[in-house]
Symmetry: C2
């Protein structure tokens, strides 16, 4: 157990849009508490303590533990969606856009693996409305990747017998990086992204691979 947020997850780029500073500190503390002990084993008191605040101070920003999970899940899912939409709209051939999407999506899941695990594994703890909202973002992410695959099939650059199934596989491969990635391991996030972009281009039968 470590009361200090890990460096890789404390980066401004993840939670930078959350203000004021106290709310941002609470979100960072919640990510680490949920990742270590699970959502259900974590109390708002634990989270406040990690953030160096009182439970009453937490309550000013978040009325419930579920609101904190929702905030984490929403920001994480929106960031994932932005990444694949950027790639979809980036110009270039379908192979270039797919490679771009995979490299960026893998890098995010490797660099922010603690956040990504909470986002992926605690979905079931969201309230009904929040869950529906997050599922809609996931569908849009799925749609953005599928659009790139469909473009490649249309131009004849890709050969994909089952576009829907291949889309699930591509996203799944990238998301699972959050489970196994180890910052002290042999590969950097960029190296995994590069390897995976190559593997995914082969999966979709990209010409010349």
């Amino acid at each position: 157990m470590n009361a200090e947020p890990k460096k890789d997850e404390g980066r401004a780029e993840v939670w930078g849009d959350i203000t004021p500073d106290a709310a941002r500190r609470l979100v960072t503390a919640a990510v680490h508490a949920f990742a270590e002990r699970g959502y259900h084993a974590t109390t708002t008191r634990d989270i406040a303590g990690r953030a160096g605040m009182s439970p009453a101070a937490l309550y000013i920003h978040y009325k419930t533990k579920e609101e904190l999970l929702y905030q984490i899940s929403k920001v994480g899912h929106q960031r994932a969606l932005e990444i694949v939409e950027d790639a979809r709209d980036s110009g270039g051939t379908p192979a270039e856009r797919l490679s771009h999407a995979v490299r960026a999506f893998v890098r995010w899941h490797a660099e922010h693996h603690t956040t990504a695990r909470v986002v992926q594994y605690e979905l079931g703890a969201l309230g009904e409305e929040h869950h529906a909202e997050v599922i809609a973002i996931r569908k849009a992410t799925d749609g953005a990747v599928r659009a790139i695959l469909e473009d490649g099939v249309r131009t004849g650059e890709f050969d994909v017998p089952d576009v829907r199934g291949a889309t699930v596989a591509v996203l799944s491969l990238c998301i699972d990086v959050a489970r196994w990635f180890n910052a002290q391991g042999r590969s950097t996030p960029d190296e995994v992204g590069e390897l995976y972009a190559g593997l995914v281009l082969r999966m979709v039968g990209a010409q010349g691979r």
Copy 2:
């Protein structure tokens, strides 16, 4: 919440070797409790209650909650290892053996997704010795898949620039099925296995794919 074990996870083939019957019931109850609430939020009293037993009766079979997790993790990991070792030793070309491994590994993770999630996501809660034992089984599983890839490269049937990286990717793709698979969804475990075997053969540059 549902006190009854789900049908797909109660199958004799998963926990059939655990005797007596009371120990098997406790393991099944623990799998569902851990999957729903997480390891740290579950008490031995919860588990005993789900199994229709007293905490004292649980204690006869398992001294601690961690022993239950260890039992689940060990059986799950041993089963995964058997699956890939069977495929490695099954005869046939490397492509046939890899296809066999992926189909069987995916099927296991889809059919037993609740167990597989506990096995994969609660690794960090194992005690030090138990963790080391499970990591050794995981390394053997990785080694069995890698051996098939190396055979294919040796015979010229596969073209794999990074065998170690591709091995991680193949296992990761199959393991993540446990996260997203939905028994009420559009694909059966066998259909996902078939799709994934084709995608993996492309990933390793199998001839004629």
